[in-house]
Symmetry: C2
Subunit: 208 residues, 2 copies
């Protein structure tokens, strides 16, 4: 489908705006716009305003840099959360993923990315200095490094570990377990993961 | 991913709005919202307003019922188009598809759907009475029925044909050719299509 084939510039404009989004081409954009055209004026107004309001009013939590409606996010200000455990994640999507597991009850620290010299992202572009300062002030029992097991993630893990140890050598720093994903077949697992899962084997537990 | 897991109601709201769109789940919605968050305020405002403006300001052409910025659409008001040929289509997407072929230079008539008793859509829900009236007034040389070759499309073709013939028995009504799609393998064609393509065979043309 070519550009600017349509007789309506309003339609053309709406399609172009959708097509700017990642993973949405002009055909999908047209389909979405036609869907919106079938909705009421009010619904479409709510739709458009949701993004405008989000962009204009969103804040980042001053403790953990998670996305928030308020100065301090709902997780940091929740007295039921375990403030003695800080989980370091790459971005707010990872906060959501971990929250969905319902297995973590501590606080987060969102780095805003990982160290990636290829993309020109160094430690100073991330919330690492804040983290070290925060750990110094709050004196948590444990810092969990929950970055993706990629080269960049591992580099960032190592960098943060060194920084934390440098300022307090007694601090407990852990990483999330790496191993065979639940439901995976052993024969399709890569050898590094499989090797690590044998080295880091855990005692058999009956009901897990 | 469950509902309302996120600490920010603004984010939650934006995700829900995206997830209302057909074919977009909450995971994709989150990805799109995070993309928008990385854009400038102005870009996101343009994004949101594009849909609000479209919905509030769009018109339907009073001649052909195509979507339009003005009372009469750019196709109907174009003096270079052949006003003596009217192509009847199901919806505005079909107008776009046919325009993209650059093979049709006449005018359109958008029905707004096809007769479908299963979905409770009868002839009175569509722009069929308008079409018969328009054909009576404009006296075109030819009316092309370009509906999809489905049961509903064929039913609608038949209904329109009967209505047009009833008001003017000399009118030329045609349908788009059905046959083997270009690039298709004969062995995979369904037998009805293949059968029709033999019955409706055309003289061999060298340069088509």
């Amino acid at each position: 489908m070519n550009d600017s084939q349509f007789s309506s510039s309003l339609l053309e404009n709406a399609i172009s705006e959708f097509a700017k989004l990642p993973g949405i081409g002009r055909k999908s954009a047209l389909r979405l716009v036609l869907y919106l055209l079938r909705q009421s004026n009010e619904e479409v107004t709510n739709f458009g305003n949701a993004f405008i309001r989000l962009r204009n009013e969103i804040k980042y939590c001053k403790c953990c840099h998670n996305i928030s409606d308020t100065e301090v996010c709902a997780i940091c200000s929740n007295p039921k959360r375990d403030a003695k455990t800080i989980c370091v994640v790459e971005n707010i999507k990872d906060v959501l993923s971990i929250e969905n597991t319902q297995q973590f009850h501590g606080l987060y620290h969102v780095l805003g990315g990982v160290i990636s010299p290829m993309d020109g992202i160094g430690p100073s572009d991330l919330n690492i200095a804040n983290l070290v300062e925060r750990v110094g002030n709050e004196k948590p029992d444990e810092v969990i490094l929950a970055l993706s097991p990629t080269m960049e993630g591992d580099t960032t893990n190592f960098y943060i570990y060194k920084k934390l140890i440098a300022s307090d050598s007694t601090i407990k720093v852990t990483t999330i377990a790496r191993g065979i994903a639940i439901g995976d077949e052993l024969e399709y697992a890569d050898e590094i993961t499989l090797g690590r899962s044998i080295v880091n084997r855990t005692p058999y537990q009956e009901n897990v």
